[in-house]
């Protein structure tokens, strides 16, 4: 297949459930997984006469997110009703924000560690707060009146983050989502669990096809129903190719046909047209008279900025600058989450050996975490102990050839370094003992001495093996060094 003769234009709409204990406009729990309709009250079931009251914590979390996304925060924001009929929307409208969202005009920087695309800023059009709807469970296939409604989710706070159409490949879209999720996780504003629906993605995609006299844009398609970032990447790749084919067949440009919505079928790996239920839907937005507008003060924003935790991008830079990690290593580390990074930093700081700390954390520690599916908080060797291990190696007190055994023992037995060394019979060999051992070996191996004297330094290797056999605790490097020194001192 030829390289694509078009440019892919992608914008993403991400809905994130905010990690509040209670809902956006009532005090019902937001806990996932409760029995249907047990986390409801007159407010979130839309009972006549009930009134919403804004959850300040939810607003605070969205403010933190907006600041981290470099958004402008208007001093005044209000609530609007988005009106449509659906059984999982008991009031007949969703409380959302229409023309005065709580934040707009931000950006998020994305990059690819392998350099697949140049580092770029993706514009954030706006981020606004709204309430989630309930869940409908249909048995449409049976064609029977068998729908059930669960209103536990109704009223859960959602932050809708709308990007500019700034992404140019499915890979960039995935990078944006990964970076966004990381940011939200670092801010602790959401658990971002896609399986439980706390992070949902819709994509808008079309193509720019270069022509002799400029560029043609194909109609924008909204893609829904993507349940993982991998699905997003695949759906967009599929959709781009599909749109190109449709364009070749029909020549349709943007504006020629109404905006289409397609759903990703993960089984079939295709997008399928969805029945356009809205047909130029009119949501009749208007300001919700039950809620008072929210004013945001300069001090409030300053406070958020002041308390903002270090964000992934800054952390990556710090790891590269202060700990000499490569871009790639810094990225891998930061993607593991703040707790692992903190673990690494403690090991590196205590041992004053960032390079060894990096290797240990990225190889042995992370492999163990992945193999066991655990987090760093459950890892048996704490940072202090791992730092001791690194320090012992650095100071030559522990031969690196035996360090993995020590690591394994510390992990299995949850022991500290000294206990591990003792149990494994590892102890530092006294310098005089070592010199004597080397002297004995040299006396017993005149051929090796002669070879070295003739310039074949690698001949020492045979002595190192013998030294270890006699005393497993010897440090091979030291044995080599002492032997060479002794040979040099011999009269030739």
């Amino acid at each position: 297949m030829n390289p694509p003769t078009y440019e892919i234009i992608i914008g993403l709409e991400v809905h994130v459930q905010l990690a509040t204990r209670t809902k956006l406009f009532c005090r019902c729990s937001t806990q996932f997984g409760a029995s249907p309709n047990t986390q409801t009250c007159p407010v979130c079931t839309g009972s006549p006469g009930a009134l919403p009251v804004m959850n300040r914590h939810a607003f605070q979390l969205s403010l933190q997110t907006a600041v981290a996304l470099n958004c402008e925060i208007p001093r005044f924001t209000k609530w609007d009703r988005k009106q449509y009929y659906y059984p999982d929307l008991p009031k007949g409208y969703q409380i959302s924000q229409f023309d005065l969202p709580m934040s707009e005009h931000g950006w998020l920087e994305i990059s690819d560690p392998d350099g697949a695309f140049p580092t770029k800023r993706v514009g954030i059009t706006r981020a606004h707060l709204e309430e989630d709807a309930g869940k409908s469970m249909h048995d449409e296939a049976a064609g029977k009146a068998d729908s059930r409604i669960d209103l536990n989710r109704t009223g859960t706070p959602l932050l809708e983050i709308v990007s500019e159409p700034d992404m140019r490949s499915p890979l960039e879209a995935k990078a944006y989502l990964t970076e966004l999720r990381l940011l939200l996780t670092y801010l602790q504003v959401s658990d971002c669990n896609m399986q439980e629906g706390s992070l949902r993605v819709d994509a808008n995609i079309n193509l720019g096809i270069p022509t002799d006299d400029g560029e043609i844009r194909t109609p924008i398609v909204e893609v829904k129903n993507m349940n993982s970032f991998r699905a997003v990447e695949r759906a967009l790749a599929y959709e781009a190719e599909r749109q190109y084919q449709v364009w070749q067949e029909t020549g349709h440009r943007i504006g020629d046909v109404p905006k289409q919505t397609r759903g990703w079928d993960d089984q079939a790996q295709v997008t399928k047209g969805q029945r356009s239920k809205e047909e130029s839907s009119d949501y009749r937005y208007f300001p919700d008279p039950d809620l008072i507008p929210v004013t945001v003060s300069e001090e409030q924003i300053d406070e958020v900025v002041k308390k903002q935790p270090e964000l992934p991008a800054a952390l990556r830079e710090r790891l590269q600058a202060n700990y000499k990690l490569s871009h790639y290593d810094a990225d891998v580390m930061v993607n593991q989450g703040r707790a692992l990074v903190d673990y690494f930093i403690e090991v590196a700081d205590r041992s004053q050996d960032a390079k060894r700390a990096t290797n240990w954390v990225q190889q042995d520690v992370m492999r163990t975490l992945n193999e066991n599916g655990i987090g760093i908080d459950e890892f048996p060797i704490n940072a202090e102990r791992l730092a001791e291990l690194v320090l012992a190696i650095k100071n030559g007190e522990l031969d690196s050839s035996r360090s993995r055994d020590v690591f394994q023992f510390m992990m299995d037995e949850k022991s500290d370094l000294q206990a591990a060394l003792k149990a494994l019979g590892i102890e530092k060999v006294d310098d005089s003992v070592l010199v004597n051992l080397c002297r004995t070996l040299l006396e017993a191996n005149p051929k090796v001495v002669a070879d070295v004297q003739a310039g074949k330094q690698q001949a020492i290797g045979a002595l190192i093996g013998q030294a270890k056999k006699q005393n497993p605790n010897v440090n091979p490097g030291q044995v080599r060094e002492i032997c060479l020194q002794l040979i040099q001192e011999m009269p030739s």
Partner: protein, 513 residues
């Protein structure tokens, strides 16, 4: 004097002094309801056992020496637009005919906490939409002064039950005049508090930015007492004001000195019944005699009040009433019938070869919505939902809803400007007195004009009171309206009471039974 002729304050004091029990008072009102409400039909529901039970509890607390609150043992009627836990709350609509809320409105809680005894739920126009209570899907309420006439609305039952001596105090709601107009028609006192003075939590919303709950009573001090019990900030209503509540009943009989009254020339123009004008003029003379200065003022944008009101209120109503869709609670159309109907329609269309039309057939869900709402709502409610839906539709929003909001701001600034020079605005409540039942059924626009003098206070969010100030030659009550700046209820009640202290219109009772 019989129990039902006592004022609420007298009743409370008699109960506190042990001259009377709450149970006896409640029983007296239940007897009066039994005797008179067959004719008036002001109550939708009276739970006698429950009322007596509440009364006995108050009596027990009194006997034990506990404090019982400022309403201690006084029976109170509640407009059926306020949620009462486990009891019918119909909003006078077929849609909610069987509906029993899972919670009490804040005002209901406050009344109970103040020792009030809930007598029953009063009739109204469906979802408070109307000015005659003829739009009730439950029953027709008659004006106690003339049974052939309407009691006004939408709080028609709330006003009629007080006028008929079937409750000493009653709670209504006012969106464009719905307390003041029926109070005027029935010759009782009705107060619309400042927007935000009383919690709306549990008040089934008609137009959220205009609705306020307020008291109806025979006298101004009684109204002051009830307002004192129900006013105040509520954390469950973001639009309620976090302001302290004065003890209105303590100060209500202290006259104000040197008050300045302004009468808007726009409220005395063509369309005002001369007999009403005459009584209002006479009331102004009473104030003059008390040392008030009275000047003509202008509310230049008041002529747009009705137009703005009938865009804003229906717009909000169209949204507030969207929840009545048959899915979660309330009326639902017969589902089996619905499915049969759809099947029939499909068959007919297919037989005729109209396959496009088959594709356009409603899904069962959409048809359920349609039929439930078509069957559950009355025609005035439907009219307003349609007006509101239209006004909020894209392409019309700016020309209607947004324009109406601009007018609303102008009306508010009219009042702001006027209140720089006068303390109260004085004038008629309604252009006319209670009209005959059925007179305006086919003329909704004339009915809308009933709100001409009252809607401004709702649009501006200020407080306003209706006080009986006379009767026409045929004996129908006339109301006097006093309006005051936001949160000036304390002064408004004192000013209104100055008039009642000088006159006896509020002591006249219709003859019933």
């Amino acid at each position: 004097m019989s129990i039902t002729q006592l004022s609420a304050l007298e009743l409370r004091d008699h109960i506190a002094d042990g001259k009377l029990t709450s149970e006896a008072a409640t029983q007296a009102y239940l007897d009066r309801i039994e005797a008179c409400d067959r004719e008036i039909k002001s109550y939708i529901e009276v739970d006698a056992d429950d009322a007596l039970q509440q009364a006995r509890e108050v009596d027990q607390r009194l006997a034990a020496g506990d404090s019982v609150g400022c309403l201690g043992g006084v029976p109170i009627a509640i407009k059926d637009l306020l949620c009462t836990r486990g009891q019918v709350t119909t909003c006078a609509s077929r849609m909610l005919q069987e509906y029993r809320p899972p919670y009490n409105a804040t005002v209901v809680e406050k009344v109970k906490a103040a020792g009030g005894v809930l007598l029953g739920k009063t009739n109204m126009d469906e979802f408070a939409m109307g000015g005659s209570t003829e739009n009730s899907s439950i029953q027709l309420t008659r004006n106690p002064w003339d049974l052939s006439r309407v009691p006004g609305g939408s709080s028609g039952g709330a006003a009629a039950c007080v006028a008929g001596g079937m409750a000493p105090l009653s709670i209504g709601t006012d969106t464009g005049g719905s307390i003041r107009q029926p109070a005027a028609f029935c010759g009782v006192v009705g107060l619309k508090p400042t927007y935000g003075r009383v919690s709306r939590y549990g008040l089934v919303a008609f137009a959220s930015s205009l609705d306020q709950i307020g008291p109806l009573a025979w006298s101004v001090p009684d109204a002051a007492l009830l307002l004192e019990a129900i006013a105040g900030h509520d954390p469950q209503d973001s639009t309620s004001a976090p302001k302290p509540v004065p003890q209105y009943s303590e100060t209500v009989d202290q006259p104000l000195k040197g008050i300045r009254l302004g009468y808007p020339r726009e409220h005395f123009e063509a369309g005002l019944n001369p007999e009403v004008a005459e009584k209002v003029q006479a009331a102004m003379d009473v104030y003059r005699s008390l040392g008030a200065s009275i000047t003509e003022i202008s509310l230049p944008h008041s002529k747009y009040a009705i137009a703005a009101y009938y865009i804003i209120a229906p717009s909000e109503a169209s949204s507030n009433l969207a929840r009545y869709d048959g899915a979660h609670y309330g009326y639902r159309t017969d589902e089996q019938q619905l499915l049969r109907e759809l099947k029939e329609e499909r068959k007919t269309l297919e037989a005729a070869g109209k396959y496009d039309a088959v594709d356009d057939l409603d899904s069962p869900l959409i048809r359920m919505y349609r039929k439930s709402r078509a069957e559950g709502f009355g025609s005035e409610v439907k009219r307003r939902i349609m007006i509101g839906t239209y006004a909020l539709s894209s392409g019309y929003y700016d020309a209607y809803y947004l324009k109406a909001l601009k007018v609303r701001r102008l009306i508010r600034s009219d009042f702001d400007r006027v209140f720089e020079n006068v303390d109260f605005v004085i004038g008629p409540v309604t252009p006319d007195v209670a009209f005959p039942i059925g007179a305006m059924t086919d003329d909704p626009l004339s009915l809308y004009l009933q709100d001409l003098y009252t809607a401004g206070a709702n649009l501006a969010g200020i407080t306003s009171i209706s006080v009986p100030c006379g009767a026409t030659a045929s004996g129908l009550p006339v109301g006097l309206q006093l309006q005051a700046p936001a949160f000036e209820e304390e002064r408004l009640l004192r000013a209104a009471n100055m008039f009642q202290a000088e006159t006896d219109w509020h002591t006249r009772r219709p003859t019933l039974g």
